[in-house]
């Protein structure tokens, strides 16, 4: 009896000990887990200004110097930057909307042109009152920033964001491939015919394992810059009224003052325009003749590596490529950049990005202070120390930024706006996601088959765009 009891007790206490150990481990983990509580999510559970940016934790950390500088100026405002990883801007906006749905929206969001009107229409608070109040402080910023970038953030007469960085669709080219084909640097006003001839020369010089023109199927750098060059687009572009208060205050003496408006509008589809057909047919010809690739859906994440390994002759991209090419081993003379080829016009495409204050922001005044500070030269130099993008401030696009990295003709980046003031933003109405889907899903078909398939694809695009624009955003 005793022995049996002792045995059971011994067994029982071993189990108890093991159980207690398990509970202890779980308890210790729970107690020490740093992000287990919902209040640990940036901006939740305290009065910090939560700022969402697209990027990695490293991108958030890179902003720490700017946050520190801001905190020195405004010790009463606590700032938390939340980096959200996303494949592209559409993906990023989806995640922000999910946060809105979950009831945990950030106070400030870094928004690119692709989402500017979606946010302006639904989510963002206009900056007008703050700009009017702090006009004296802001004059220096607008002096240094091209009005086209500002106009891209106007919506129905109000300004919703200050442009922090931007990129135009310029044409990168591999200088080695050009030299092998006996080509000189393209002229600033080279045409789509010159471009095609250059591709043909490169193809002749390197018949295999090489792509003369690589492009991707997306809103930026896909078919749109070609449409702009041919003085058309897949959506009819109009301008809204209003906004004079801003132009008269900050750009009264700008030579392009008369071009400015209360913001862009894209209200109707335009895929049935004969010039759209002509543009697509040109690209179809490049694909058919092996001069350009069929564009893949979803973007070109592998493009930097391929370009840096001399397997691509030309591709459209913005200043955001410079640091990547440098890190991929390209020397400053291994590549260069030129304006996008002209056609009927030499209007270029650009995209820009800046902070928007959410309507739901806890403290909009604090949010504005962050935006105002971020627009200062001091903050922008802290945030953009390398050419990972083109800073919105003209004065920052200088020799020092590109020193040792290239390209030789870095001036092309800002000249795309300064020399061509009609250069326009990515067509992105509030229904941008549906519009982008309608465009992308038909581009591949349009340029990959015969003329009949091209016509069918454009008819389909017209229908899809009608549906997309009819839907509420």
């Amino acid at each position: 009896m005793t022995g049996a009891t002792t045995g059971r007790l011994r067994e029982f206490s071993r189990r108890t000990a093991l159980g207690a150990l398990g509970v202890g481990i779980v308890g210790a983990t729970v107690a020490s887990w740093p992000r287990l509580s919902g209040t640990d999510i940036p901006g939740r559970g305290d009065n910090s200004l939560s700022i969402a940016i697209m990027g990695t934790a490293a991108d958030a950390a890179a902003r720490q110097r700017a946050i520190d500088a801001f905190t020195r100026l405004h010790p009463d405002i606590r700032v938390k930057v939340q980096a959200i990883q996303a494949v592209d801007w559409k993906d990023f906006f989806t995640k922000i909307l999910t946060m809105v749905a979950a009831g945990t929206p950030p106070d400030v969001v870094y928004v690119a042109t692709e989402g500017a009107q979606l946010f302006a229409d639904k989510l963002a608070h206009p900056l007008d009152e703050y700009l009017r109040r702090d006009a004296a402080d802001m004059a220096e910023f607008f002096d240094d920033v091209h009005p086209s970038l500002v106009e891209a953030f106007m919506y129905k007469g109000s300004l919703f964001q200050l442009p922090m960085d931007w990129n135009a669709a310029n044409m990168y080219y591999n200088t080695t491939a050009f030299a092998q084909a006996g080509l000189e640097r393209p002229a600033d006003d080279w045409t789509h015919v010159d471009f095609r001839n250059s591709l043909a020369a490169m193809r002749k010089a390197r018949p295999s394992d090489f792509t003369p023109y690589y492009w991707t199927n997306r809103l930026f750098g896909g078919v749109v810059p070609w449409l702009y060059a041919n003085d058309t687009s897949f959506l009819k572009e109009t301008r809204s009224t209003g906004g004079d208060w801003l132009w008269d205050s900050f750009y009264a003496n700008d030579p392009s003052r008369n071009l400015r408006s209360g913001g862009y509008q894209w209200l109707e589809p335009n895929a049935d325009d004969p010039r759209v057909f002509e543009t697509f047919d040109y690209l179809r010809g490049l694909v058919k003749d092996g001069l350009g690739v069929r564009p893949e859906e979803g973007g070109g994440s592998s493009l930097v590596g391929l370009f840096a390994s001399n397997r691509i002759g030309t591709t459209p991209a913005g200043g955001y490529w410079v640091q990547g090419l440098h890190e991929a081993g390209m020397k400053e003379n291994d590549y260069d950049v030129a304006f996008f080829p002209k056609w009927r016009s030499q209007r270029h495409q650009f995209g820009t990005a800046g902070y928007a204050i959410m309507k739901t922001a806890k403290d909009k005044d604090a949010a504005w202070e962050w935006i105002k500070f971020s627009a200062s030269r001091e903050a922008m130099e802290l945030i953009f120390p390398n050419p990972v993008t083109t800073p919105a401030r003209r004065s920052m696009v200088n020799e020092a930024l590109y020193s040792g990295k290239g390209p030789a003709h870095w001036k092309v980046f800002y000249d795309t706006l300064d020399k061509y003031p009609t250069t326009g933003p990515i067509p992105a109405p509030p229904q941008q996601a549906a519009v982008e889907t309608a465009l992308m899903k038909n581009v591949s078909l349009a340029v990959s088959g015969d003329e009949r398939q091209l016509k069918q694809a454009l008819e389909s695009m017209q229908r899809d765009l009608e549906l997309a624009l009819r839907r509420q955003s």
Binding site: K90, T94, L97, T98, V100, A101, K122, L123, T211, Y214, N217, V293, R294, P295, E296, E297, G298, S302, L306, R311, Q431, A433, A434, T437, M440, K441, N442, V443, S444, L445, S448, A457, S460, R463, D464, L467, A468, R471, Q472, S473
Partner: protein, 321 residues
């Protein structure tokens, strides 16, 4: 040879475990009581999880299908408008047709491949080799579909992909895998089947292991060897497993999203756009949560109808030991 195998009768009452030296009646009453509590305690997490994360969202989705809602504004009741719009939307129609076509091809390949490989692995081979194959075939299933698809994008790139490089060694010109409707559909199916057949494979391995050796021996005595052995013994006795595998494979394939989304974004055109992808695009890209819910409800009804049909048909083809 007969394929009718008598069912094993289960005992009507479970055997009672009675501690020696304890009165049987009081033990049973208190034991049942405590067992009931214990059962509820163990079931509680699952019931709570199912309720909170499955049943409530399903109910919410059904309700939402009758509203127009963009997250930001208050929902507006629109009756059956969302369903009417969905039915008229050509993209939705195409995506459902794509999904059905995908299910037919992918499930047939998945089950065929899984069964063939399971039979192969069950044949006589060294234990270590069997273990290796089991692990190797199951391995793709534990990988993230998104990661696999990103990797496959590189592999199937027309200009620089490894697949076309191999083809070029054999003098075959580059295939536009991801930029033509046929090519992209083939890649999506290939990647999906490669990643998912491991689950059906495991089910078949389990099913094969449960077939008594004596049945094969009896069949061998009757002269059934080689191919005939599998046709007359393996397939009929494996039919319950095949039913389970096919039900699960079809339900999973009807909800395919990751592979086509990452590989092709539904393109070119709508060639690889699936029903779940349209739900995602409606909800999270176009902010039409009511319409997305309506598509979701239709898809759920289709899944339920197909599953019910499978079970109904199974009475004719499934044999239980």
């Amino acid at each position: 040879m007969s394929t009718t195998i008598p069912r094993l009768e289960r005992p009507k009452q479970p055997a009672k475990a009675v501690k020696p030296g304890t009165p049987a009646t009081s033990q049973t009453a208190s034991g049942r009581q405590s067992q009931r509590w214990l059962a509820w305690i163990f079931l509680a997490p699952t019931i709570l999880g199912m309720g909170l994360f499955t049943l409530v969202p399903i109910a919410a989705s059904v309700v939402l299908a009758f509203f127009r809602w963009d997250i930001i504004s208050a929902p507006t009741f629109v009756g059956f408008d969302n369903f009417a719009e969905v039915v008229q939307d050509p993209t939705v129609r195409v995506s459902f047709l794509n999904t059905i076509a995908f299910v037919i091809v992918a499930v047939a390949l998945q089950l065929g491949l899984a069964l063939a490989l399971a039979v192969m692995v069950q044949e006589k081979m060294p234990a270590w080799l069997r273990t290796f194959f089991r692990s190797a075939f199951f391995f793709p299933l534990i990988l993230s579909a998104a990661s696999v698809s990103i990797f496959m994008r590189y592999l199937f790139n027309e200009q620089f992909g490894v697949v076309n490089w191999f083809l070029s060694l054999a003098g075959i010109p580059a295939v536009p895998w991801l930029t033509t409707p046929g090519g992209s559909a083939a890649v999506v199916i290939l990647v999906y089947v490669w990643q998912n057949f491991g689950f059906s494979f495991l089910l078949f391995i389990g099913g094969l292991a449960s077939i008594p050796v004596e049945t094969y021996e009896a069949a061998a005595l009757d002269g059934a060897t080689g191919w005939r052995k599998h046709v007359y013994v393996t397939l009929p006795l494996l039919s319950p497993t095949t039913l389970l595998a096919s039900v699960m494979a079809i339900i999973s394939a009807l909800q395919v999203f990751d592979q086509p989304y990452v590989l092709t974004r539904g393109g070119p055109g709508d060639s690889t756009r699936t029903a779940v992808m349209v739900i995602f695009e409606s909800a999270f890209q176009r902010l039409e949560f009511g319409e997305a819910s309506a598509i979701g409800v239709i898809l759920t009804l289709i899944i339920m109808a197909i599953t019910a049909a499978q079970f109904r048909l199974s009475k004719r083809f499934v044999f239980y030991q």
